[in-house]
């Protein structure tokens, strides 16, 4: 009987009831019909308890970091950097759009932030260069799903929270899949260049503004330190190596990095160099976040707060692009968007009560397992189901509702928990860019002024690329597991 909550819920959301209310009304009505209104208490308490959770704090923090980066001109620098690298290719700005999304993904944890930040900047620029507006909007939407796949990622924090997995392992697991999506899209742009009549290749003019004294030396230092760390990582150092030898290696690495920097300096034009330098400080964010988590300085939740602090410090003190006057409105916007997300999480946790009470997961698992017991085939089916769910539901709520139902089935079948987490997260994230209920599409439409339907049509080839990547991730576990196991976060 209770199981009728599901069709009721679907009807409610399809007629346009806010999902928050639909998630409470449908179980509430069923409890009323079955004369178990004492369980209403449970619904209420779970809305509260669902939100009262420390790991969820990462959501407002990443929203805030994203807002700060937009206001502080950090996004702009990333685009300029991408343009210096790829702007000269055929379909240059389309490639720049994708590369910017990959870079931005290392700074932000949300696809919507990516769409609105990069879209508002790149869509007009692409139009000016002769791209059609719907193509520009479509490539923006398609590439911004990389945002929550490459760490940090709001969706993966929710998954880890609901399923009790290690956030760090999930973050590391997302790196290769995210880059794969990006590379896939770049190839697609290249192949489709004629079909979409993309502008021919031409030389890009870089007009970087001069760097301030502080920023110049900071990026000078950072570039060398990062290179040093990279070289040092290859040094034959073990736990037993004496301190002096380690110092020697570090010194050599430092010298090596300076030489490398000098060589690179020779190879490129001053403008190119300047653009790269202007991107050095923003691109330090992912290094800081992942380095801090892996180095035991802070937890993933705390990392989000550190990202906020870093974005604030560089845009306020170094770039001087943010004023104190602008701060309240930045905070306000982050607070209001996160409040709606948190309410949804709370409602979804309440919704889980009726999912459990109705024994839907067991029945569904039984049904699915009855179809076939071949894990490979099951994975194919589950991807279909997830994709369809993703068309109608946001990634966060979908994970909260379906994660506890699906993950145990597949873990029992021998799929690695982190592998399944990545499959699920990537699949549902791509759903953000699919019609009819695709938040990223809506934002792309709002930013570009193009109709949702026409973006949805143009985006189809790119969605196809993303579906191919989903299946690669599904059937090649190494894509998700190699990096976390390299860092010792996964035994595989």
């Amino acid at each position: 009987m209770l199981v009728w909550f599901l069709p009721l819920f679907l009807v409610f959301i399809l007629i346009g009831t806010p999902i928050f209310f639909a998630m409470l009304a449908s179980p509430g009505i069923l409890m009323w019909v079955t004369d178990t209104t004492r369980d209403w208490n449970l619904l209420y308490r779970n809305v509260y308890n669902g939100m009262d959770s420390f790991p969820l704090m990462a959501i407002p923090f990443f929203m805030l970091a994203g807002e700060l980066m937009n206001r502080g001109g950090i996004t702009m620098r990333l685009v300029a950097f991408s343009q210096a690298l790829m702007g000269h290719l055929r379909g240059g700005l389309a490639q720049v759009n994708i590369l910017s999304s990959i870079l931005f993904a290392g700074l932000s944890g949300s696809a919507v932030a990516d769409t609105s930040a990069l879209g508002s900047m790149l869509i007009p620029a692409m139009e000016k260069e002769g791209y059609s507006r719907r193509f520009a909007a479509a490539i923006t939407a398609a590439s911004s799903v990389i945002g929550p796949i490459i760490p940090p990622s709001g969706i993966m924090i929710i998954y880890a929270f609901v399923m009790g997995e290690s956030v760090a392992a999930l973050f590391l697991g997302g790196i290769v899949p995210g880059i794969l999506v990006g590379v896939g899209l770049m190839l697609a742009v290249r192949l489709l260049a004629d079909k979409y009549e993309l502008p021919a290749a031409h030389k890009v003019e870089l007009n970087p503004e001069p760097l301030s004294f502080v920023e110049y030396w900071l990026s000078f230092l950072l570039v060398r330190l990062n290179l040093t760390a990279l070289i040092y990582a290859f040094a034959p150092v073990t736990e037993e190596t004496p301190g002096t030898t380690k110092l020697l290696y570090a010194g050599a690495a430092l010298v090596g990095s300076h030489v490398a920097a000098l060589l690179m300096r020779r190879a490129v034009s001053p403008e190119f160099r300047s653009v790269c330098k202007r991107a050095a400080l923003p691109l330090q964010t992912p290094v800081l976040i992942l380095g801090g988590i892996l180095g035991g300085v802070f937890t993933p939740t705390e990392a989000a707060a550190v990202a906020v602090a870093y974005a604030f410090l560089i845009s306020f003190f170094v770039l001087r692009s943010l004023t104190l006057k602008a701060l309240p409105s930045v905070l306000m916007r982050a607070a209001i968007t996160s409040s709606t997300v948190l309410l949804l999480v709370g409602a979804a946790i309440a919704f889980k009560v009726i999912v459990a009470l109705s024994h839907l997961p067991e029945n569904m698992a039984e049904f699915v397992l009855g179809l076939t017991s071949n894990p490979l085939l099951l994975l194919f089916l589950i991807n279909l189901v997830l994709f369809i769910v993703g068309m109608f539901l946001d990634a966060g709520p979908a994970i909260i509702i379906l994660g506890p139902i699906l993950a145990p089935i597949f873990i029992d079948l021998g799929i690695h928990p982190i592998h399944f987490a990545i499959i699920m997260s990537v699949n549902l994230t791509v759903g953000l860019a699919t019609p009819p209920m695709g938040l990223v599409l809506f934002v792309a439409s709002a930013v570009s002024g193009e109709k949702v339907q026409s973006i949805a049509r143009t985006i189809l080839p790119f969605l196809l690329v993303e579906i191919i990547v989903i299946f690669m991730i599904t059937y090649i576990p190494a894509i998700s597991l190699a990096v976390p196991s390299f860092f010792g976060f996964v035994e595989w």
């Binding site: 308490r45 420390f54 035991g296 459990a356």
Partner: protein, 329 residues
């Protein structure tokens, strides 16, 4: 069935709490001749932590729930008496104390009063054996070895005071973030039972050194909605009570059996177990002394409860010693 009892236990059906509730269900349904049906929910759909579970019991959303001593401390602070180190000698003493008597009656009376008559303490069993110090860094033989380590505790004063008294640094980390925090070194140790350690796969995150100091008995407090039990006829009330006795005995036995496998797995995974000598254990007890004073002066009802436990523990020791004497004579 004329009466239905809705019981919530934690999410893990391999847990000793679950063993206990299986025994309870079987006993109550059989002994009541089907008049009472027991519906068991394993998971977190009704409540996910101690405070929530007590709330659910208070408002009747569930009839029976279990909390640990720290889980119930938000409303009944004095039950943290179980987190006080080294007050009970061993399992046998603890089981003798918890079978009933002045100490348990005192806790029950205080809890009824503090919850406005809504929540009744039914029995106290065990969940997971004893708490021991475990860490990722080194073998801990005496208090000096633990000094300076960052030890994860729950967000509650008493465990933090204990860790501080030993010279280590208490670090509140949410349970879901603990695995990652061991891996990355945000914390270096914790105080948990072996079954939790193995259940959460903490050794994979580097937790390889356990010192069996047995500093706290992991009491499992079973609560029931008072109105619900009062609404049963007298004979069925006795059935339920006997059911809780059966549950208690099952949870006393189950962790001992489970710990064997858990310790084996721990050692096979390269783990190091250290058993402190009597002198070293005394040194731990001396170092922890400030915590007793802290408990008396900071916890409402603390003095009364700690005195009751010390008395009950002494009685139990005497009784056991005399029984041992008779057995050998």
């Amino acid at each position: 069935a004329d009466y239905n009892l809705r019981v919530q236990v934690g999410s893990n059906i391999n847990d000793e709490d679950y063993d206990g509730i299986v025994v309870f269900k079987d006993f109550v349904e059989a002994a009541s001749n089907g008049a009472i049906s027991v519906e068991v929910f394993a998971g977190t759909q009704f409540c996910a932590n101690g405070a929530e579970c007590l709330q659910s019991v208070a408002d009747g959303t569930i009839d029976v729930a279990m909390t640990t001593s720290s889980g119930g401390a938000g409303i009944f602070p004095y039950i943290q008496v179980f987190d006080l180190p080294y007050l009970m000698r061993d399992d046998r003493v603890a089981e003798e104390v918890l079978r009933g008597g002045d100490f348990v009656n005192l806790l029950r009376a205080k809890a009824l009063e503090d919850s406005g008559g809504a929540i009744r303490l039914m029995t106290i069993g065990n969940t997971g054996g004893w708490r021991n110090f475990a860490n990722t860094k080194r073998v801990v033989r005496e208090p000096a070895d633990i000094a300076g380590l960052k030890i994860r505790t729950v967000v509650a004063d008493l465990p933090q005071e204990l860790v501080k008294a030993l010279g280590a640094s208490p670090t509140p980390i949410p349970w879901p973030e603990l695995f990652t925090s061991f891996q990355t070194g945000v914390v270096e140790g914790s105080k948990n039972g072996i079954t939790d350690i193995m259940g959460m796969k903490f050794p994979e995150a580097g937790l390889q050194y356990i010192t069996l100091d047995g500093h706290a008995y992991m009491g499992a407090l079973w609560w029931m909605n008072n109105e619900k039990i009062q609404s049963l006829p007298a004979d069925l009330q006795h059935v339920v009570n006997n059911g809780f006795y059966a549950l208690q005995q099952a949870t006393f036995a189950s962790p001992k059996r489970k710990a064997i496998q858990a310790y084996q797995d721990f050692v096979e995974g390269g783990g190091n177990i250290y058993v402190p000598t009597v002198e070293q254990k005394t040194a731990f007890k001396d170092a922890a002394a400030p915590v007793y004073d802290w408990f008396r002066s900071n916890v409402r009802g603390g003095s009364e409860v700690i005195d009751a436990l010390i008395a009950a523990s002494a009685d139990a020791e005497a009784k056991i010693d005399s029984m041992n004497g008779m057995a050998i004579k």
